[in-house]
């Protein structure tokens, strides 16, 4: 009763959740142009994920996996459907096929597959990593919507994401956490596991219990995959930033239902991996263009952001491609031999950023 009254008051006065505010990109998240000005390492047809074995870069591109030794690419695996997640294992790789199947290719556990976890089929498995004890960490974004319909899950206020572990040795599977608002990316952090909960804009830590504790909350965007950094800490990718308009739409179920029913998903008032492709895109509450030029500070429909975290989850610095940029929809970043490789899915590009140069320019 009290909660209902409070919610009603908040709605009337524009307070609490109804204030519809979005955190600032300030402090260590202050925008820069590093990602936008980064070297384009490769342009591919359908890149989905990155991984590294410490020496070379592995890329999931459509139904194939490429290995980059320097600039030269070679195909190391091919399947019949899209690969939506990739991890490097000793002697082989682990891949997610079409969000519905986890498969090991090569190495001592070659051929082992999983399609169910805890008796529930995988539906939108989107990231795979390696835990400290050798188990595979898999995030299943939604058990309701398939991988490619992630935006439907957001508009549906999806709360069916899962964090799962798979044991290559025994083949056992386990659900560590469920009910997540789109789990997207997980990584071992000491004895615990960090997992991104995209629609709640936070990073959770899971230890022995099934309860997750926020490591990093109130992010200004939707976090995606996370990978370890060489000097300790992590690289967290944020596939786009939040806007007040989208936050407002997420509070209006009738509007969303009608939008989902009647409007082409490309033109929804919703986050996107790339923007500026057609004039039919919603303007997101501000003029995206003035005299033909995108304003870099306009509310973003799409954005490019990689966040460097320390071992405690504090933000050290960030790399940006701003609203007027192109390298948007960053869904994966891995560090390999002193460089950071970033997958800007919105532009279907892999970018290469010299970490030393980036840190130097941020100090200047």
């Amino acid at each position: 009763m009290i909660a209902t009254l409070r919610n009603w008051t908040h709605r009337l006065l524009g307070r609490g959740d109804a204030a519809i505010t979005v955190p600032m990109l300030d402090g260590a998240l202050k925008p820069n142009q590093i990602l936008e000005e980064a070297e384009v390492f490769a342009e591919l047809d359908a890149p989905e994920d990155l991984a590294t074995d410490g020496h070379s870069l592995l890329v999931a591109d459509g139904a194939r996996v490429l290995r980059y030794e320097g600039a030269a690419a070679s195909e190391i695996a091919r399947v019949d459907r899209t690969i939506t997640g990739l991890a490097s294992l000793p002697g082989g790789i682990a891949i997610i096929v079409d969000g519905r199947e986890v498969r090991i290719v090569g190495g001592p556990y070659d051929g082992r597959t999983w399609t169910n976890v805890g008796g529930t089929p995988l539906s939108a498995a989107n990231a795979i990593g390696l835990a400290a004890d050798g188990r595979l960490l898999v995030t299943d974004g939604s058990t309701v919507w398939p991988y490619e319909r992630w935006c439907d899950d957001l508009m549906d206020l999806g709360r069916s994401g899962r964090l799962c572990t798979l044991d290559p040795l025994s083949g056992q599977d386990r659900e560590i956490a469920k009910g997540l608002a789109y789990a997207f990316g997980a990584c071992a952090a000491g004895d615990s596991i960090w997992v991104c909960e995209s629609w709640r804009h936070r990073l959770l830590q899971y230890g022995d219990s099934k309860v997750g504790y926020p490591v990093l909350g109130r992010l200004p965007g939707y976090p995606s995959r996370i990978s370890p950094a060489a000097g300790g800490g992590f690289w967290l990718t944020v596939f786009t930033c939040r806007t007040q308009l989208v936050e407002f739409v997420l509070r209006e179920p009738a509007y969303r239902r009608r939008m989902m029913k009647e409007i082409d998903p490309r033109y929804w008032v919703a986050p996107a991996l790339s923007s500026g492709n057609t004039f039919l895109e919603p303007l997101q509450g501000a003029h995206l263009k003035m005299r033909g030029i995108h304003k870099p500070w306009a509310p973003p429909r799409s954005y490019g952001l990689v966040v460097r975290l320390d071992a405690e989850g504090l933000i050290r610095y960030s790399l940006h491609s701003r609203v007027d940029g192109k390298n948007h929809g960053v869904v994966a970043a891995v560090e390999c031999r002193g460089a950071l490789f970033v997958l800007a899915k919105g532009r279907r590009r892999i970018l290469r950023v010299s970490i030393a140069d980036a840190e130097r320019s941020l100090q200047a």
């Binding site: 006065l13 204030a19 300030d26 402090g27 109130r218 200047a364």
Partner: protein, 498 residues
């Protein structure tokens, strides 16, 4: 050679021994528009107040049309033909326009209809579209300015001084105001115009004078200035001569986000303001007068309230908070060290010990029915020693302390609460040089110990010397952020103005 209508020679005005203006030579020519620019505290207002008879000169000469004068009251200045229009209008809000115009000139028996007719004729002669029967409180800012100007002209002012006249005007009203200024000039009236908006200075002036730290820097024709030269003249100090030293070469790394302000609104002063404050850093907040800095942080500390509807969000340690009074904010670990210590900072008739102990009591959740004198003495002595508050004894009343020690007392009163977030509003205003160094050292040590520290200051060298991160405010919100390594005084001033 043209005789200046008003001239100041070697003008010095000291407040309690501290010079607000020092050896200033200033000349206003007949029929010219002369703009005064400078940072906050540069001495612009003091200089004009001297001319308007609001304050006396400590030393130096003032001449009107070549004749030495010494106006001691605004009435005397007005008799000399000098009128001043203050930033906050000096009209009586409950009176009509006509009554305000003739205020001070009443006879024993006034016929209201008579002054309305006279006011109507006079306003029409100035081509001011203001109803003389309207109550002043119902007028907009621009119309109030018109009434102020009309009153000055009615008093046969040959010189009209405007102190930040455009601060509260809309763009349309500003345009109208500038037309008025030009029409005054056409009537042969000389105008002194104080403004922080450099575009305005470059637009309306015939000549511009720049003041800095109470001293005259340059006076020149408008055509010889551009924005860059003005800013350089306003901020270009010889840093080696100041207390604050060079720019920072290192900065502290940010800790956890302690405070997050999102879309904060408070009347017309704070407009959609958003920013964060992090632990273990000094966050400097700079802005010109009216930029909404103090109001924003007073809302954070519960001193004033944000808008009831759609007032935005404040998150302390990621938890939304809304304080109606300061007490819960203090209990949650927010300390606000006020800029106006004499009014808001301490109980002036209470001792050092009592003041510090009251700070501690404010933090306690349950009210104590009895307090311990021994505890008060021990807490007070500890903090007085810690902050090096110099007094004959700790039982000395706060009012008897010097400015610097009073400021340290206010800080001690907040630090005794062991806050996580400490907001210093103009921490070194009216403080002697020795105490400034001690206060700066204290601010740095607080940040080093992991506290989130905010320093609001109008003094650029202080901001640059202290801050790890600098937020620049303009028109009610943060418009720019610089790290200590990239910030320069010119960049900050540029962001504050444009």
């Amino acid at each position: 050679m043209i005789t200046p209508i008003v001239e100041l020679r070697n003008a010095t005005k000291k407040y309690a021994g501290v010079p607000a203006i020092q050896n200033i030579d200033f000349a206003l020519l007949p029929g010219e528009i002369h703009t005064l620019v400078g940072e906050n505290g540069a001495g612009k207002s003091t200089l004009t107040k001297v001319m308007a008879g609001v304050v006396d000169l400590t030393s130096g000469q003032m001449l009107v049309e070549g004749r030495e004068v010494n106006p001691r009251t605004p009435v005397q200045a007005r008799e000399l033909g000098i009128a001043m229009v203050f930033q906050e209008t000096s009209l009586v809000p409950t009176m009509t326009v006509a009554q305000n115009l003739f205020l001070g000139q009443e006879r024993y028996f006034n016929r209201l209809r008579g002054i309305y007719i006279a006011a109507q004729q006079f306003l029409q002669s100035l081509q001011f579209d203001v109803d003389p029967t309207a109550t002043v409180s119902l007028l907009g800012a621009a119309k109030k300015q018109m009434v102020e100007i009309a009153r000055a002209v009615l008093h046969k002012a040959k010189v009209i001084i405007f102190d930040e006249p455009t601060a509260s005007l809309t763009p349309e009203e500003k345009k109208y105001f500038f037309d008025l200024v030009f029409s005054l000039k056409a009537r042969g009236v000389s105008v002194i115009f104080i403004s922080h908006a450099l575009e305005e200075a470059l637009l309306v002036s015939d000549r511009i004078t720049v003041l800095r730290d109470g001293k005259h820097v340059v006076t020149d024709e408008k055509a010889k200035f551009d924005r860059a030269r003005l800013i350089q003249a306003m901020v270009g100090r010889d840093l080696s001569q100041t207390l604050y030293g060079r720019r920072k070469t290192t900065m502290r790394r940010a800790g956890k986000r302690v405070l997050s302000v999102e879309n904060l609104r408070m009347a017309a002063m704070v407009k959609n303001n958003s920013f964060s404050v992090f632990a273990g850093q000094v966050t400097g907040v700079f802005g010109l007068v009216g930029a909404g800095r103090t109001e924003t942080f007073k809302v954070v500390a519960g001193v004033i309230k944000r808008d009831i509807m759609h007032g935005g969000e404040i998150l302390l340690h990621e938890r939304p908070v809304r304080y109606l009074v300061p007490a819960p904010a203090v209990r949650d670990g927010i300390a606000y060290v006020t800029e106006d210590r004499k009014v808001e900072g301490f109980f002036e008739t209470k001792s050092i010990v009592d003041n510090i102990y009251l700070g501690l009591l404010a933090k306690l959740r349950n009210r104590r029915k009895l307090t311990s004198r021994a505890e008060a003495a021990s807490v007070g002595e500890h903090w007085a020693k810690q902050l090096n508050i110099r007094a004959i004894s700790n039982d000395v009343k706060a009012i008897e302390l010097s400015g610097g020690n009073q400021q340290k007392l206010v800080i001690a009163k907040s630090l005794v609460q062991d806050p996580d977030l400490i907001i210093f509003d103009e921490p070194t205003r009216g403080v002697d040089v020795g105490a400034i160094a001690e206060i700066h050292q204290l601010i740095n040590s607080l940040a080093d110990s992991g506290k989130a520290v905010v320093v609001i200051s109008s003094y650029l060298p202080e901001i640059v010397a202290l801050s790890d991160r600098i937020l620049v405010c303009r028109t009610g919100k943060v418009v720019e952020e610089y790290s200590a390594l990239e910030a320069t005084e010119e960049k900050i001033m540029y962001a504050a103005i444009h």
